[in-house]
């Protein structure tokens, strides 16, 4: 594969894209939010159990490209068990990472999605799940659109 392309489609992304973790609707949850990317028609639903300021469980369902599915999968893994404040901070750092606006700081393995910043048309794919989470944390129950 072309090295620039490899920068976008890292092995970990392909892996999460193929076999997303935290995938499917859970039996129980306290929060549910639909998201839609009007650019490509992708839909995603985020489910979470949020109690006492903590994200106890996060799962998602839907269809999307490898970037959006991998990003959602990794996000759910990252935020589960974290405080809402921490999840909120991660959102901001992740957003900086993929838009390349500022140094994102240490963001752990989410770093594999940094390649997205060189593909402006794909930034929305990577941020769809994160925007959904952000709205959820703010208590905004309306469907999210990345437009």
């Amino acid at each position: 594969m072309n090295p620039d392309l490899r920068g976008l489609y890292q092995e970990m992304i392909l892996d999460h894209g193929r076999r997303p973790r935290h995938f499917g609707a859970p039996a129980q949850f306290t929060h549910k939010l639909d998201a839609f990317n009007p650019l490509c028609g992708d839909r995603l639903t985020l489910y979470a159990t949020i109690e006492n300021g903590e994200v106890k469980n996060a799962q998602f369902d839907g269809k999307g490209c490898a970037i959006s599915v991998a990003s959602a999968s990794m996000m759910c893994e990252e935020v589960e068990g974290k405080s809402c404040d921490h999840a909120e901070q991660l959102f901001h750092r992740f957003h900086q990472l993929v838009t390349g606006k500022q140094e994102a700081g240490d963001i752990g393995r989410l770093e594999v999605l940094a390649g997205v910043k060189d593909f402006p048309a794909r930034v929305k794919c990577a941020t769809l799940a994160w925007h959904t989470l952000e709205h959820m944390l703010k208590g905004d129950r309306e469907a999210v659109s990345t437009e």
Partner: protein, 418 residues
Amino acid sequence: MTASVSAQTISTPTVDIDALRAQFPTLHQEVHGHPLVYLDNAATTQKPRAVIDAISHYYEHDNANVHRGVHSLSERATQRMENVRNTVQRFINAPAPEQIIFTRGTTDSINLIAHGFARAFLKPGDEVLITGMEHHANIVPWQQACELSGATLLHAAILDNGELDLDDFQRKLSSRTRIAAFTHVSNALGTINPIEKLIGWARAVGAAVLIDGAQAIAHAPVDVQKLDCDFYVFSGHKLYGPTGTGVLYGKREWLDKLPVYQTGGDMIREVRLEGSTFAGIPHKFEAGTPHIAGIIGLGAAIDFLHAQPWAALIEHEQQLLAHATKLARNIPGLQIIGEAAHKACVLSFTLENVHPHDIGTFLDFEGVAVRAGHHCAMPVMHRFDVPATARASFAIYNTFDEVEKFINAVESVRKTFA
């Protein structure tokens, strides 16, 4: 790989594609280190040198406003622009040049008609019939028109192979149908609709007929008198011409009675502060300074096409589609969306376990430009239960070699994600 048929055995002997390609400057560039393979022609076509030169020539020599000056430049600009009306008239065999209205494009043309219908011809109880395979440009203006007028919007269904359900179309036509508006060729499926038949049925119940010719105009000769449709609309940019130009052809009786759309300068006969009277056709629909350079470019595009062996090139396009379709069928997990018996050169497809966006990005790195998305036809995506498709669309300047590069690139995407 599957691409084994050599280009020599199937190329069309009567056309020199290399010489044709030489006239399109944008085609000769590299993308990510590969020669560009431009297969997004349904979105917009590349422009030949003749079009680019006509636009530059206008700005370098004739630039002036039209219909407003007695000075030489204005007369020249007016003449050049009005000549294009004649060129378009001949191109689609309209009865008279004043039945050619210049617009910004297909979208603008349809809005003009839908707006006029909402204002003057639609009322509660009336119906507008479209199809399930329309571009958003032929859906949303009718939704608006129906909302404003109280009329009802109906649509005819699509069959599993991507063809229009003709029975459903006929079932939904009635004496309540004021206008039937449908596409000549589907941009998302490639289906060529049997419009002669559809027009006949619609006229039989007394409905007006609007044909969206955006995807048809560059791929087959159109004769609006033979079709006997009331309106035929298209965009210049899908016909090797400039963006921001379009055409609305209408029957005279409709253009005369259709209310004005945008209003202001150029479209009036007399303005008094108490009220105004409007110009006749075509000017009553052309408010404000038009895209003069673009219209001149559109004329150059049509002249360019006329200078080519167009019939042979249409055949060439069909062969490209047939070759691409045959090779695509050999790719495991690839599903073609739209397998109508009569198709224009559009190959829409999905690949198992690979999202169209990922296909699009991968192909770009091989120099292959395709479209990935819903193609402004979300209802078609819903109908086939896919979020999006990848779409390769061919034009006169594409080659068999390009088709094979495209197929090889798709095959390599499949392997990467397998």
